[in-house]
């Protein structure tokens, strides 16, 4: 390919299009973003949101348990759990949901049949972790690690 036949690209530098904030505001905004008071306010906001998020996660767990025959719905519920369980402080729940989503996503992309036993194991583990008073117990973490190893092995066999 000659130099002249290469496709042209138009580069539009930041100064040539409207910015989110004007320069003086941007400097103040950066100070706000880095201020300890902002972090403290955000922490309060996160903590205030947690009870509702935990309640919602338990609803998604029920939805997942009811959807054993509908993998699309089950995946959607697991995806929601993966999305904000850890934000709500439910670390183990979120990690097991992450492994389940990865398994379901990859196996679908590979065009392979879903192993319903693997799915059921994860659903059960997620439900137990989510309903445990302290979901981040060592047993839960061990279960999450074992399930992750199982899925990695199964995906390696299938890919």
């Amino acid at each position: 390919m000659t130099k002249n036949s290469k496709p042209k690209v138009q580069l539009i530098p930041p100064g040539a299009y409207p910015q989110m904030l004007s320069k003086p505001r941007a400097a103040r905004a950066l100070r706000t973003l880095q201020a300890p008071e902002t972090a403290a306010k955000a922490q309060v906001a996160m903590e205030a949101a947690m009870p509702a998020m935990r309640a919602a996660i338990l609803q998604y767990v029920e939805e997942m348990e009811r959807s054993a025959d509908d993998m699309t719905r089950l995946f959607e519920a697991a995806h929601e759990i993966r999305g904000f369980a850890e934000t709500a402080g439910m670390i183990t729940t979120g990690r097991i949901a992450e492994v389940l989503c990865r398994y379901m996503d990859d196996i679908t992309r590979f065009g392979r049949p879903m192993d319903t036993t693997i799915v059921a194991l994860h659903v059960s583990a997620i439900a137990r972790a989510a309903r445990a008073e302290d979901d981040n117990v060592r047993t839960g973490q061990a279960v999450a690690a074992e399930l992750a190893a199982l899925v990695a092995k199964r995906l390696a066999e299938q890919s």
């Binding site: 690209v9 299009y17 973003l33 880095q34 972090a39 996160m46 949101a49 999305g83």
Partner: protein, 170 residues
Amino acid sequence: MSGPGFENLKALIVEDNAHMRSLLRALLNSLGVKDIAEAGNGQIAIELLRERKSDLVLTDLAMKPMDGLEFTRYVRNNDHSPNPFVPIIMISGHTEKYRVEAARDAGVTEFLAKPITAHNLFARIAEIVERPRAFVRCDGYFGPDRRRHQNDDYTGPWRRKDDFQTTEAR
């Protein structure tokens, strides 16, 4: 006191999960952002963008009937888009490489993997404020420059398949 700098910012949250919308709103509030619109999917978000100026968009990826990728492509490429340059932060639990690349190729400005933390969200916003990226228009793509680490002092050979001549916008 938090707030200075963001008090006039208009934000749009596009997310189908009401709890996540509420959390994102609360986090933006903690920065002092007060004018925040919410949409449950990309289609509603497009209507809102037409009705109301937005300076920053936070969007989920997986939504129905219009997901975050389609929404981003509309904002960047559609002739009727009110602001093709608006910064878009995509927030998603779908963190597989091919999905992140799809988001980048749709034209998102930043990608934030769930679970969300205030620190991570603020870091993405700081990136937009501190280091606004050039936009690129070429065949098949319009959006923020996808090359993050450009070395202006580079004097070596051009080896990438897609290295091309560039022209500045007039």
